[in-house]
Symmetry: C2
Subunit: 455 residues, 2 copies
């Protein structure tokens, strides 16, 4: 059967690969690898121990090996290149050299200098210029994301001429869905979708049929804005222009998909103080060091909360029930605040928050905080009063809960907005700051009110 | 200038839109809306209060209004349709009726029955069959994701015939990058990329040039697996086949991008117990109710932790410093465990975890937990001992920290794996379960050891 309807499954491949590695069945291993795309092999490599990654990578033909490097998470790529540098320098040079200049640009900074020099020297003049063009743009901009394999046509030729040119040229670059129409100064003046080329009268000229109502992407546009443009317009590819409107390249949807995936990973990993480029099997000492930093940051806030509790030692001594119940107040505040903050962070990412609606959002969240504060204050108050057979304990915790949930709603809206204004990533710092607020307010409200009552 | 290099910016549009709404400048409002894509308008609508959404939606021409409905988050769409049902039933019918059957399929279940019936009845026989074909597949499968606007060709015709057919047909469906080659029973036997069609000798037959090494997507494949296939293969579109290998439709990358975005939102929102379809401006009572459920779940675990503390009331009474310091032990465990769990959840999503490497991962995480446990135990121990002028307090918290960080590493690996096996979403439930473990173990270790020491 020519058409395989089987879908890929990294977990199954991982099992087979590990078995083949253990039993040394290199022929089977090669067969498996040949059936996979570079992206699939990269996913597999990341699931392997560093030593096994080396073994597998060495089995790959150079052109695949290079593309696999491009597809790996940065940290995994870095450690693999470091391991290859000494023993397999030649293979590394060959693999990197086999890459398209646009792909090479993604990894060239990760190559050790000696290897990088050799790879760049081996490029043709044309390819070196393509590489340099992409490298002039800062990371995470449209310019760094683009490929330079555009096909350009002039406006005054007929479609028939274009068709003959394409046939003579053979093969189109991957994901080409349009030809770009430029004037003699390389300025983009329109695009000619392949679908138009295929369905129109061949005797008409490009000028008659090209689309001129085109949004070209400025090379300096941030990658996240590029992703949003693609999502909003359902593009397959889009032209990139410099400040003078000259065509410098094009961005294709496959790279945009990677941006979207990276951004999502960034948000998720940041919340735990991790980088989205994290290697699951990085050296233990390195992982431990990086995580220690995050634990240290959180320790400071934990000590701050402890210090607040310490202010009320005498109160707790007098009424130990307070120590038993105080984590409930803090934790409910944290949960409620996180809900609000998560909504706000999503809206920020979609640029859906501005002066126009922030006030509505804030009052709405505070109203929800009040409703849930009162609701759960009653529940927790009754349980606490019965548990400790003391009405005042129930009243105290109920009041503290309402205060903390109101505060959590306010903080959940304001903290991410403030961090965003300050240029700090709310996904990374929001959680720490928010729980510091809800912990401190929670302990302060509960133990403070208790002190006023008891003394 | 024909080429606009301006990028879209929801926040700026939101500001302008709100001003136009307030001042009643309908002409300006219309002008702004005409310049935006349906996806952009949907993003804008979601940032507006429900009442304003109605006003803006009514200004849209039917074909745009329908597409905007498709692009909205489910919850926003639901409330908008509900608001429109009584006063604007006719407009709603017109907007839904203007949709392509493949898009209509995405929202038809959200329409009230009376409106749905009218929309479906107004469809041509052909369109109704297309709608039905998509609706037979369960949500979140390839079948429900697909469009039915495929162009098929027979293997025995020449490219020249195909080219003439396309010219006669005019326009291709959006995001068409290949024609599908089928036999007389509609079975997919190959694909003919437009790039091949454009660059090959027109006298050759389709059979000579079609690609047969094609992965067709089974209609029952889960949407998340479809997304992974697209990412691994850099596809623009891919054919969907039924169990007999018959072509039933195609999936295009724009819809895959939406799946990827939805999945990312799902993970992020789930961690806070929210749905990715959440409307930022849903009615307060509804939002409050939904969030109350999540707070209730977390309250149970908070009471569990409180109950553990309650076991040691006598110990705390004797040594109040314990109450001051105990949140530190619990919180550091929670942070460390969350880091591990976040890594594991990402790896699970990429199917990078299996029997083959789970043991390596577990020992690695425990080693990291041990290193950081010892490190921060020393730091916290010294600070605590100095703060309370008591060596035993320092020793107790240090020991408890090590125990809790080891436990956190173990739980961080095992909890998401276990939840995944049970078919429970680890992103949703993982956090609650994990912090329950780290809170309980943290309090138990610290207060338990103290009790052994003091009594």
């Amino acid at each position: 059967m020519p058409i395989s309807a089987e879908h890929d499954d990294t977990e199954r491949h991982l099992k087979q690969l590990t078995e083949d590695l253990e039993t040394g069945k290199l022929a089977e291993l090669n067969q498996l690898l040949q059936a996979l795309t570079p992206a699939e092999i990269a996913d597999l490599l990341e699931a392997l121990k560093p030593a096994d990654r080396l073994v597998v990578w060495r089995l790959l033909p150079p052109e695949v090996a290079g593309e696999v490097l491009v597809e790996l998470h940065e940290e995994v790529r870095g450690s693999l290149i470091k391991a290859l540098e000494k023993t397999d320098a030649e293979d590394l040079i060959e693999a990197a050299g086999a890459l398209d200049p646009d792909d090479l640009a993604d990894i060239v900074e990760d190559l050790p200098e000696t290897i990088r020099d050799k790879v760049v020297q081996a490029l043709s003049h044309h390819d070196r210029r393509r590489l340099e063009r992409v490298l002039t743009y800062p990371e995470d901009t449209a310019g760094s994301l683009m490929r330079t394999d555009t096909i350009t046509v002039r406006p005054n030729v007929t479609l028939d001429v274009v068709l003959r040119y394409l046939r003579q040229r053979g093969e189109l670059p991957d994901l080409t869905d349009a030809l770009y129409v430029v004037d003699k100064d390389d300025r983009l003046i329109g695009i000619l979708p392949l679908s138009v080329l295929l369905t129109s009268d061949p005797n008409k000229t490009v000028r008659e049929l090209m689309l001129t109502d085109v949004e070209a992407i400025p090379a300096a546009l941030p990658a996240s804005d590029v992703a949003m443009l693609f999502e909003h317009h359902d593009w397959v590819s889009a032209p990139v222009v410099d400040e003078e409107g000259r065509l410098v390249g094009r961005i294709t949807v496959d790279d945009v998909v990677d941006v979207i995936r990276d951004e999502a990973e960034h948000t998720i990993m940041s919340q735990a103080g991790l980088s989205e480029e994290t290697d699951m099997f990085a050296p233990i000492s390195e992982s431990a060091k990086r995580r220690a930093v995050w634990l240290g940051v959180n320790l400071v806030t934990a000590f701050l909360a402890a210090w607040v509790i310490g202010l009320f030692e005498a109160t707790i001594q007098k009424e130990v029930a307070l120590a038993v119940l105080m984590p409930i107040v803090a934790s409910m505040g944290g949960i409620a605040g996180t809900q609000t903050q998560t909504l706000v962070i999503r809206a920020l990412a979609l640029k859906q928050i501005g002066e126009a609606n922030v006030w509505t959002l804030l009052t709405r969240e505070i109203a929800i905080g009040l409703i849930n504060g009162v609701l759960w204050a009653i529940v927790v108050g009754i349980i606490a009063a019965i548990w400790f057979q003391a009405l005042h304990i129930g009243l105290l915790i109920a009041a503290a809960m309402i205060i903390n949930l109101l505060c959590a709603a306010f903080a959940g809206v304001m903290i991410p907005l403030l961090l965003d204004k300050l240029g700090i990533d709310p996904a990374l710092a929001g959680g720490v700051v928010l729980t510091t607020v809800t912990d401190v307010v929670g302990f302060l409200a509960f133990l403070g009110l208790a002190t006023l009552w008891l003394f």
